[in-house]
């Protein structure tokens, strides 16, 4: 318990939290998916931090990336790992839990308690496996809308997220503009480029070419560990930058000399193996396949983000990182161009970071300045301008 207190004092943590779940779309009310299939009942896991105010005007929806989950901040009981955006969500932090009510929702298709290929199909009593329908970012967001309805929140103060989380942010605006007061898409894109699709296809082929994948029906036997681990290794290369890898590993050797065999000699190799091995313990291979496919299908370019001539009053804060070559700044600038065409109130900033795509998780200080003041302005309007020490 004292340990827990230390964590709380040190990081302004939200403290001990619990993942909860919400089930909807039961018989007769199944969710219609973009692929034409229906899905139900659906369970979505989520966590909340802070307190919803009386008029429900202080709610923020935080959305995670490909391999994330509902655990965005704080710690689970008797565990040490903090949530994936713990640096950004908490008392006094960018998403200030003293002022705002933050909901982090998992996605359908995932494997962290929400309905996905590894969850039990009530009709058969077995995991859905490859019978799971193909889901899209749009489907994920429609499912989240049911969760927001469940809270009785008409209008979210903000929807925020990085990478695939940023795609969900954009999809929220495209699908439900009147329910989003402000949007913060970070290190993301209106659509995947051929290069991004290519990486995802290599990732998928790596899983599917592992004989242990068994066409997706591996749940009685165990994960296709080799394939999934290589898939994650590829991912980690794309999340870093040339410079951050140089700084982190350079050409340092694990054992000080070449082994003259095919064991990992360099520290960077060891790091990738470690990441891959860890990942297979916490993530389902089929979920990785389904979600990467959903990301590749996502496309809100050519007027699909905001239809031409449509007036929306959602405010935007778009953030990209100079060293991010997986989601390069030009993709964020495409979002900005779409906003300009529709005269949407928006701020865009490319931050100087060397961390590559990972920057949205680790570049805390500058993101905090931007997000904190942007939210303040959205929540308090021109009050904030009047209060700015002049």
């Amino acid at each position: 318990m004292t340990d827990m207190k230390n964590i709380m004092n040190k990081n302004n943590s939200v403290g001990v939290v619990e993942t909860q779940s919400f089930t909807f779309a039961g018989t007769g009310a199944e969710l219609e998916l973009e692929c034409g299939d229906t899905l139900g009942p659906i369970t979505l896991t989520y966590e909340t931090y802070g307190t919803l105010n009386a008029d429900k005007s202080n709610a923020i929806l935080a959305l995670h990336a490909l391999s994330g989950d509902a655990h965005a901040a704080g710690v689970h009981r008797d565990q040490e790992d903090t949530g994936w955006w713990d640096d950004m969500i908490g008392p006094g932090k960018a998403f200030d839990t003293d002022r705002y009510f933050i909901v982090c929702s998992n996605v359908i298709g995932g494997c962290k308690g929400s309905t996905g290929p590894s969850s039990i199909n009530p009709a058969t009593g077995k995991p859905h496996a490859s019978d799971f329908p193909f889901i899209t970012i749009g489907d994920m967001v429609h499912a989240q809308r049911h969760l927001i309805d469940f809270f009785g929140i008409d209008r979210l103060l903000c929807v925020a997220g990085g990478s695939m989380g940023g795609m969900q942010v954009l999809q929220w605006v495209a699908s439900y503009p009147e329910r989003v007061r402000s949007a913060i898409p970070i290190a993301t894109a209106l659509k995947h480029s051929p290069q991004q699709i290519a990486f995802n296809e290599v990732v998928r082929q790596s899983i599917m070419s592992d004989p242990d994948w068994r066409e997706g029906n591996y749940y009685e036997y165990g994960q296709p560990e080799k394939g999934l681990s290589v898939a994650r290794m590829i991912g980690h290369i794309t999340f870093m930058s040339d410079q951050s890898m140089e700084e982190k590993f350079s050409r340092r050797l694990k054992n000080g000399r070449f082994s003259f065999n095919f064991d990992p000699d360099f520290e960077v190799e060891g790091y990738l193996h470690y990441r891959g091995a860890n990942f297979v313990k916490r993530f389902d291979a089929n979920s990785y396949l389904y979600i990467t496919k959903a990301i590749d299908y996502f496309d809100l370019s050519e007027g699909r983000l905001i239809p031409k001539g449509k007036n929306i009053d959602t405010r935007f804060l778009v953030i990209s990182f100079k060293s991010d070559w997986l989601y390069p700044s030009y993709q964020s600038q495409e979002i900005v161009r779409a906003l300009k065409v529709n005269c949407v109130d928006a701020t865009y900033c490319e931050l100087q970071s060397t961390y590559g795509h990972d920057a949205f998780l680790v570049e805390v200080e500058e993101q905090t300045t931007l997000i904190k003041h942007f939210l303040d302005k959205t929540f308090n309007g021109y009050m904030v301008v009047n209060n700015y020490g002049i």
């Binding site: 005269c343 865009y348 900033c349 931007l370 700015y388």
Partner: protein
């Protein structure tokens, strides 16, 4: 009201802009010009700025700003998106001045341009008598580290507008502390012009 930070050019532009109008400030810096306009005149403001530190300052003031250079930032805006487009002390840093002014006049009803006058008498003295590149209060840089790429006089800019069918609606000339009324091309450090398309002016 007059503080150490008082800037005559900001004061003049502030008084030009009508309350409640839509304003785009090209090269808005830390938002020192836009901020009072939003605070007092309920202006709907958007800035464009290249320096990321300055963008952070703008966001602290509650201003909306795009990170980018002026030349590549105007194309997407529909015609007449803004009532005013401001190019204050940024035009001389732009390479394609012609294109930027043309685009600014397309997306804004009025364009406010503020620039340092290269023909200021002290510049002339430095060049003529000392044979040195001029350094003045409005052109304070050494030749090798100046961000400016265009050097123009008030007369040059008037000629430019005349040749491009641009109507000069207002002209303000600034000395070291006060406005200048006579011999501006000789005595003014800075000039501020309010421009519109000739076709708009006749309406």
């Amino acid at each position: 009201m007059v503080s150490e930070d008082f800037r005559l050019d900001h004061d003049i532009i502030y008084s030009i802009i009508e309350p409640g109008s839509r304003v785009l400030d090209l090269g808005c810096g830390a938002g020192d010009l836009l901020y009072p306009l939003v605070r007092d005149k309920q202006v709907r403001a958007q800035g464009i700025e290249l320096a990321d530190k300055a963008i952070q300052e703008c966001v602290k003031k509650g201003l909306s700003v795009f990170h980018g250079d002026i030349e590549n930032s105007l194309r997407e805006y529909p015609d007449n998106t803004f009532d005013y487009v401001i190019l204050n002390q940024s035009m001389q840093e732009v390479r394609k001045v012609d294109c930027v002014i043309h685009e600014a006049l397309r997306i804004g009803g009025k364009v406010i341009v503020g620039f340092p006058n290269f023909a200021y008498f002290k510049s002339r003295i430095m060049l003529f008598f000392y044979g040195r590149s001029p350094i003045t209060k409005s052109l304070p840089y050494l030749w090798f580290d100046t961000p400016n790429v265009r050097f123009l006089s008030i007369t040059d800019f008037k000629d430019f507008c005349g040749g491009k069918n641009i109507r000069i609606m207002e002209a303000h000339y600034l000395g070291e502390k006060d406005r200048m009324r006579f011999w501006p091309n000789l005595l003014a450090l800075n000039a501020i012009f309010v421009l519109t398309k000739e076709s708009n002016a006749t309406k």
